[in-house]
Every structure is written in structure tokens, then in C-alpha cells.
């Protein structure tokens, strides 16, 4: 038997939509197999892992609604970053340092409560959010500049900068920015009042969730209905055609990095203004890296990223649930996330190719 790829005449629209669905199904099957090997009842484990976080949909039990709020809060940063990365990857601009831009945003925005702990007004909130986005943009401007000016691989430079900014944050919270009243814990003063994100009603859903939805819709409009979006698509799929059309490759690199960096920075300041509540050495469970999976699962479409973010948020919450209920390490979440990305990429082959298994005889006949 031999596996042979046959190029389709055009991209299969059906497979573009089906591929992530197949990938999720395959991940669930793999999950069941993994759980069986760990000596667990696979169906129960899958239920706890993947369905518990969304069980309000069929229980209608108000107690379960809390997990939906959790889901929205977890999905928000993933969707924000994923939407920006989608645009970047469409343009063939490989920003993989979103985790660093997230951290830079948190540091820049967090500087306000550190230096002006008494400042409480709606303007504080606005200033912190703006600083957060600006911090992410500034950090992402470095790989963009190095790419355009020196042709240095943006993949490697953006990733290296993740380590650098995480060390800067570590130094700040252990050194100059440490809360004097914090019993020597490596953390800044806790953020209070207007230094935190407002929540809707008495829920835990905060303003960041709204940002994620708005960003997804705005970027979908940008990509679908504006010249800039067209330019980015052309430069990504047919760089030569883009050059002849007079589109600037350098401009696209700047645009994609500043956009995805700014959104990552916003996600970062959102996290420290709500979930975390202050600056500390670790402020994100790898949202910037998981958002790469979000972008691909969402078909590099900003609205798709919104849906994909919910799926990945389930994998985070499921990991926590599995640790509590099943006694499985929550590290399994990252394994499932990695497996999911593999399946998506494998299934995406079906968009451009038909996969055929030929017997040896057929191969020889054709040859």
C-alpha cells in the first residue's frame, strides 16, 4: 500500500470547514485511548474533561452557569491573541512571540498602579488598557524592525524576546516594583477599583470578553471588506503578485506585528487587571502559545478564532477538572492541545489534496 496525494483543482471549501471538526473528533478518540491506558474509564474521563465545563447547556442548573463564565474569561485572551495571529499568519508573517507581547503589555499597563497606586478614576482604566496595548506593540515592533531592516528571522527573534521580557518581569516584581507591604512575596501592589476590569452585573465576565468579540468582528471586517485585508491576503498567498500590485511587504510586516502585538498586550493587561489582580512572575498559563493553535483551529479567520478560543478554553478548564476529579495531572491539557494542532494540520492536507491509498499493483500499473 502507498499513500498518494492528488492535487485538487481548487481548494475544497467543504474540507476547510470539516477539517477542524475531524481534528477535534480525532483528538477526542486519542484522548479516550490515552485515558484507557492510564487506567481510567474513558467515557467518564472524557465527560469530566470536555463536557463538565459546558454542562449548563443541558442541566440549566444555576450552579453550573459559573463554569460558562469561567469559560468566557479563559477564552477571552485566547480569542484576542488568536485573532491577531490569524491575520499575521495569513500574510506569512510568523509572530510566535505573542506570549512575550502579552507579558510586555502587562508590564507596561501594570506600571500605572505601581507608580500611582492612589489614582482612581475611569481614566485609570483607559490609561492602563492603552498602555497595555502600547506595551505589546512596542515589544512586537522589535522583531518587525529587525525583519525589515536586517532580514532577521522573525520566528526566532520574536520567540527569543519571550524569554527576555519574562525575565524583565521577574526582575521587576522581585526588585524595584515589589510591594513593600507584600511580606517579601515577588508581587506588586494588588490592583483595586478602577485598576481592575469592570465585570458585567454580578458575574465574573469582564470587559475583556467584550474586547475579544469586538476585535474578532472588526478584524473579520478588515480582512473581508477592506483593501488592507486584500493586500495582506495577496502578500501571503502570492508575494510576487503582491509586489507587482505595488503592495509593500515591509508595510505588511509592520502592520501584522503591531496588530497582533497590540492585541496580545491588551490580553496581557486584561489578565493582570482581572484574573491575576497584580503583577507576579507568572501571569499566563501560556496563552500566547496556545493562541497559535487557536489561530489554526479557527481557519486563520478572526471570527473562527473566537470559536476556536472556546474550544481551547475547554481544554484548559477540562485539565483543571480532570486534576480535581480524576487525579490526572493538569499537564495533560498541553498534550491534548499539541495533539489537536497536529490533527488540524494533518486534516488541512485534505483541503488542497485528495489522499489516496494505492496498492502496490496500482502504483506499478500507473508507472
Amino acid at each position: 500500500m502507498r499513500l498518494v496525494l492528488e492535487k485538487r483543482a481548487e481548494r475544497s471549501r467543504r474540507m476547510t470547514v470539516l477539517s477542524p471538526v475531524i481534528a477535534i473528533a480525532l483528538t477526542l478518540i486519542t484522548g479516550a485511548i490515552v485515558f484507557t491506558f492510564m487506567g481510567l474509564d474513558p467515557l467518564e474521563a472524557l465527560y469530566v474533561y470536555f463536557l463538565d465545563p459546558v454542562k449548563y447547556f443541558w442541566t440549566r442548573n444555576p450552579d453550573d452557569f459559573w463554569s460558562l463564565e469561567q469559560l468566557a474569561v479563559k477564552a477571552a485572551p485566547l480569542a484576542l491573541i488568536g485573532a491577531g495571529l490569524s491575520v499575521s499568519y495569513l500574510a506569512n508573517v510568523w509572530n510566535i512571540g505573542a506570549e512575550g507581547q502579552l507579558t510586555a503589555g502587562a508590564v507596561a499597563g501594570g506600571a500605572i498602579p505601581v507608580f500611582f497606586p492612589e489614582w482612581q478614576s475611569p481614566l485609570t482604566l483607559v490609561a492602563m488598557l492603552l498602555m497595555g496595548a502600547a506595551g505589546g506593540m512596542a515589544w512586537s515592533a522589535i522583531p518587525a524592525f529587525l525583519k525589515n531592516r536586517f532580514n532577521a528571522s522573525e520566528i526566532l527573534t520574536s520567540l527569543m524576546l519571550v524569554y527576555v521580557v519574562q525575565l524583565i518581569l521577574d526582575w521587576l516584581v522581585r526588585g524595584p516594583w515589589r510591594d513593600p507591604a507584600g511580606h517579601n512575596f515577588p508581587q506588586t501592589v494588588p490592583f483595586t477599583g478602577w485598576q481592575t476590569l469592570p465585570v458585567f452585573g454580578d458575574s465574573t465576565i469582564h470587559l475583556g470578553v467584550l474586547f475579544a468579540v469586538v476585535a474578532a468582528i472588526a478584524l473579520a471586517f478588515l480582512m473581508g471588506s477592506t483593501l488592507k485585508g486584500f493586500e495582506i491576503r495577496v502578500l501571503g498567498t502570492a508575494p510576487r503578485a503582491g509586489r507587482f500590485a505595488g503592495f509593500s511587504r515591509e508595510g505588511a510586516v509592520w502592520f501584522c506585528f503591531l496588530l497582533s502585538g497590540g492585541l496580545a498586550g491588551l490580553a496581557g493587561i486584561g489578565e493582570v487587571m482581572n484574573t491575576v489582580g497584580q503583577l507576579q512572575p507568572s501571569i499566563s498559563p501560556g496563552y500566547g502559545f496556545t493562541a497559535i493553535i487557536v489561530a489554526f483551529l479557527g481557519r486563520l479567520n478572526p471570527v473562527g478564532a473566537l470559536v476556536a478560543a472556546v474550544v481551547l478554553a475547554i481544554s484548559y478548564l477540562g485539565g483543571e477538572a480532570a486534576q480535581v476529579t480524576l487525579g490526572v495531572s493538569d499537564k495533560i491539557a498541553r498534550v491534548f492541545q499539541g495533539i489537536l494542532l497536529f490533527y488540524i494540520l494533518a486534516c488541512d492536507t485534505l483541503i488542497l489534496y485528495r489522499v489516496k491509498l494505492l496498492s502496490r499493483a496500482t502504483v506499478e500499473l500507473r508507472a
Binding site: 529587525l146 536586517f150 532577521a152 528571522s153 520566528i155 525575565l167 526588585g175 495533539i339 502504483v363
Partner: protein
């Protein structure tokens, strides 16, 4: 003198994993494939090497397990990018995410356990020569293996027919295919070789460099190795020089920390990453240098027509 000796010895052990991983990736890239999963393969190599050595008590079995684990993960990458023609950049990232995740999960039970250390060579008389002896004759066996590997790769790539085929496949897969060479099998072999090297590099970390398992102990070394291949402009000897330079930077950071020069430790820890960026900028800015050796088909998909 003794301090200098110990600094030199640690520089050599810090450089060896970088050299191993970078030489492997060099072969992969020379065949036209970009595997960004080095960090993930290193992590898996580190945890499997550690576990196997712990279970059997033999560091050599640990080394073999590390190579096998890295190679196994790279086979997955090869299947995806060469058979299913998936995007190489994305698949490499996926390999890193999966490798780091798996290593964290598998290694959970190993945290805090004392490991099995790969011993250093002790030749009578030779190792006892003051200063020179321990440096030249008293390293662990993988230090020599890494240098031998570098020489072997340089020889095979530039002095043998096999190397010519690998470079042909990497520079023009259409021509190589037209001449009757199997582009996909050659690339697959190179990918698995690179995976084995990355696994070995990881195993070196958990068996020789710091004989223990700590999550995220690879600390970006896989990515630095990728940068080293660019820095060395795809030439083995330049990659080796680069690896030793980077090892020096890493250890100088630690040494300055020990002296307590009043510099924040985080700044010193970030040195290798900053130096990597600077090195990339310097080399990539020199287009004549990079253009001469960059494999022309690097990262491009190839589907054989039937």
C-alpha cells in the same frame, strides 16, 4: 587557575548540547526541510533519557533512549510535512508544543529525583596533566562524540556522493527528482537524523549537564540551536564555533552572577537570548554571506508527480 579551569570545563559542557542539536538541524535544513520542533524533541529526549537511566541505572541506556525518543518524534514531523505536505513552520511549532507538553506530563514523577550522571573519562597519566589534561582528555564521552559528529557531517556533506545528493535535494528538489533521486526518502532520513541529534542534546542536559529533571529545563536551547544554524550559515565548522561562543556567553553570565557584580541575575540569564538576536541580526544583514549557503528549497513543500 583552578577557577579558570572549572569555567572552561563548564563552557564545554554548556556548548555540547547546542552543538549536537544544531548539527542535526543543519543536516535537516541542508536537505531543504525546516524543523522548528528542536525544542520539543530536546525536551522529550531529556525526559526519556533521564527516565531510562533512572530505571536501568545505566547512563548509556539513557543516551540511547534519548536518541530514540527524539528520532521517534521527528518521524511524526516527517510524516506530516513530507508525506502529508503540511506547512513546515506550523508543524514544527506543533512539535515543540506537543514535545514540551508530553515531557512535562511524563516527567512529573521525576521532579526532585536524583539522576544518574554520565561519568567523565579518566585516562591514566593523560588526564592528570595539569590544566590541559582535564580539558582535552577528561570530558564525558558525548563531548568528543559531538565534535566527531560535526567532523563526520562536514565530511559527508561536502566530500561524499551522499552529501551531494542531500545538498541537491535541498537546493533544487525538482532537479534532484528529475535525476531520479528520491527527494522524500532523503529528506525523511535527514529529518530523523536531526531528531536523533536533538534527542541526544536533550539527553545530554538531563544526564551530563545537570543530572536531574526540571520542567522546561531546555530553556530555549532548541531555539538557540536553530539560530546557530543560521549564524553558522549552514556550515558545520562555523556552527561549532557558534555553539562554543554561545556556551561561553551562557557560562559567563553564571560566573558574573557568582562573583555578584551587582548586576541583576535576570539580566545575566537573558544574555544568551539577547546575544542570539544580535547574532541573527549581524549574520542576516550580510546578504552575500547568507545567500551563498542557504538551501534554496528550505521550507518549500514537495509533492512528487507520478
Amino acid at each position: 587557575m583552578n577557577e579558570l579551569l572549572s569555567v572552561i570545563l563548564t563552557i564545554i559542557t554548556a556548548s555540547t548540547p547546542l552543538l549536537l542539536a544544531a548539527i542535526g538541524e543543519l543536516v535537516v535544513e541542508r536537505s531543504g526541510v525546516l524543523n522548528l520542533g528542536v525544542e520539543g524533541m530536546m525536551a522529550i529526549g531529556a525526559v526519556c533519557g533521564f527516565g531510562a537511566a533512572l530505571a536501568t541505572g545505566s547512563p548509556l541506556i539513557g543516551v540511547v533512549a534519548a536518541i530514540a525518543a527524539g528520532a521517534a518524534l521527528s518521524m511524526l514531523f516527517g510524516f506530516m510535512t513530507l508525506i502529508l505536505v503540511s506547512n513546515q513552520v506550523a508543524t514544527g511549532l506543533a512539535l515543540t508544543l506537543l514535545g514540551l507538553g508530553l515531557a512535562g506530563l511524563v516527567g512529573e514523577g521525576y521532579v526532585g529525583q536524583p539522576g544518574v550522571k554520565l561519568g567523565k573519562i579518566d585516562l591514566p597519566v593523560l588526564t592528570d596533566i595539569p590544566f590541559i589534561g582535564p580539558i582535552v582528555f577528561g570530558e564525558d564521552i558525548l563531548v568528543y562524540a559531538a565534535l566527531a559528529l560535526m567532523l563526520a557531517v562536514a565530511y559527508v556533506l561536502f566530500r561524499t556522493k551522499m552529501g551531494l545528493i542531500i545538498r541537491a535535494v535541498g537546493d533544487s528538489h525538482q532537479s534532484a527528482h528529475a535525476l531520479g533521486y528520491g527527494v522524500v526518502p532523503v529528506r525523511y532520513a535527514c529529518v530523523v537524523f536531526g531528531g536523533g541529534c536533538a534527542g541526544l542534546a536533550g539527553g545530554y542536559l538531563s544526564l551530563a549537564y545537570t543530572p536531574q529533571w526540571i520542567e522546561n529545563m531546555t530553556a530555549g536551547r532548541g531555539w538557540i540551536s536553530l539560530a546557530l544554524v543560521v549564524f553558522g550559515s549552514w556550515l558545520p565548522w562555523r556552527v561549532a564555533i557558534g555553539a562554543y561562543l554561545f556556551g561561553t556567553v551562557m557560562i559567563l553570565g553564571f560566573s558574573l552572577q557568582a562573583i555578584g557584580a551587582g548586576i541583576p541575575s535576570q539580566l545575566l540569564s537573558s544574555l544568551p537570548y539577547i546575544v542570539t538576536i544580535v547574532a541573527l541580526v549581524v549574520i542576516s544583514g550580510n546578504r552575500a554571506l547568507t545567500r551563498a549557503n542557504t538551501p534554496a528549497c528550505l521550507g518549500q513543500p514537495f509533492v512528487p508527480d507520478r
